[in-house]
């Protein structure tokens, strides 16, 4: 088994839904998807993130650590949330990603973790 990161990115262009019923449906769909991941033993970890404005960047590559407000790069796109799953191969991971994308109504990027 391998681990894959399924990340959901906001492009900063597409409007996020504001209708409460739509949002509630999305949460319910994601929760159902999470349950399925757990039931089938594919679940490792998952979470949604607060908006990008809440981020802080730490740079300790120099002598002194520098803490700054905001994301590390000035881009419109940002990470909204992610899953870490166990899957036999890419095809299995892609199948999960399709379900995840439909549930959270966002594009999902699939990346393999380096082998331990």
């Amino acid at each position: 088994m391998s681990q894959y990161l399924l990340s959901v990115h906001h492009d900063g262009v597409t409007e996020m839904p504001t209708d409460e019923a739509v949002i509630a449906q999305m949460y319910a769909d994601v929760e159902r998807f999470n349950e399925k991941l757990r039931a089938e033993g594919a679940w490792v970890f998952a979470g949604g993130l607060y908006p990008i404005e809440s981020s802080t960047t730490v740079d300790a590559t120099g002598a002194e650590a520098v803490v700054t407000d905001g994301p590390f790069a000035e881009t419109k796109e940002y990470l909204g949330g992610f899953w870490v799953i166990e899957a036999a191969d890419l095809d299995a991971a892609l199948t999960w990603a399709k379900e995840g994308s439909a549930a959270c109504q966002g594009k999902v990027e699939v990346r393999p973790f380096q082998d331990a």
Partner: protein, 408 residues
Amino acid sequence: MTAQAQVEGVFREEYARIVASLVRRFGDIDIAEEAAAEALLRALEKWPVDGTPPNPGGWLTTTAGNLAIDRLRREGRRGDKHRQAAMEAERRGAPEPTPPTGPVTDDRLRLVFTCCHPALATEARVALTLRLIAGLTVPEIARAFLVPETTLAQRLTRAKKKIKDAKIPYRVPETADLPTRRTAVLAVVFLVFNEGYVASATEEGDAPIRADLCAEAIRLGRLLRELMPQDPEVAGLLALMLLTEARRSARFVDDALVSLDDQDRTAWDRALIAEGHALVRECLARNQPGHYQLMAAINAVHTDAATADATDWGQVATLYNQLYAVSPTPVVALNRSIAIAELDGPAVGLALLEPLQLTGYQPWHAARADLLRRLERFDEARAAYDAAIEASGNLAERAWLAERRDRL
């Protein structure tokens, strides 16, 4: 044929089988390719002296397998459990381990689906398929696609790394995914064919090399047919390529393009046409129409007519209607309107063609020009030919269009 050419010929024929079997056993394309190349060197040494073995493919596969094991032992690469299992089995003299999932299929089919995986870029799929399945060398593929060898080599390296890192499986997809995945495989083969077919119309010196791509695509088409004999779209694609290839030699006279209605039909390759027609009949009997089958059927109608005037345009129009139902693209709509123009007159055809507005597409302008000519609207026809010439990137095509325009 020299002894070397003979060995290399066998090697190319057997390449996909050798590599696919090694990939399954060792789970690594690089190891498979290296071992296969080494086995070729052994064959080049031994066969001219000892004679060609009774089963050359088997000899190459066994030799390559042994070389891979020797090499892995030497390098102490035992990490991968696939490889370890294969080496253990080999040591005990046990049969090769069977793959963990899926029904028993030809290893080559698994590798085809790996090479044409949707997670790879289209150009990577094409390069991998030509390299691993068709057995073309890196310089050959680079020349055919007019890219530098280093670019092509990098493209292959990146693709193989992604297969390894992301764990793109060596497996025939599950039933639910099979139709889409099969379509992706067919698209790669048809792309190779078209690259060769369109290239044969250029005046570049390397045109013959690129035209070889048609032969390679047909060879791949035959292989897919052997591997998926029950699939009507596989049969349809092969038929389409055969019926198109059959007309190749008549498409050019003295380097000038000749349109379908002006072609010398006695120059068409009858053997390819007969093979294509048989496949189309088989598809009709199955009655599960699809994109390639319908395209093949349209080509079958054209190649069935002894003269251009004898073309059954009613049949062609019906087939285009069916094709539009499965592939509702503007290009199909364009071809349908051309068929309908033959059946119901240029005015009807033009009325269907005008709204498509495929202004960047040479065939749309050319078809429009022809219909305007037949309606004796010559000024408009001339302007349309000019637009067609503008939209064409192909020298022979431009010359043909200019000639049509000047004849007005």
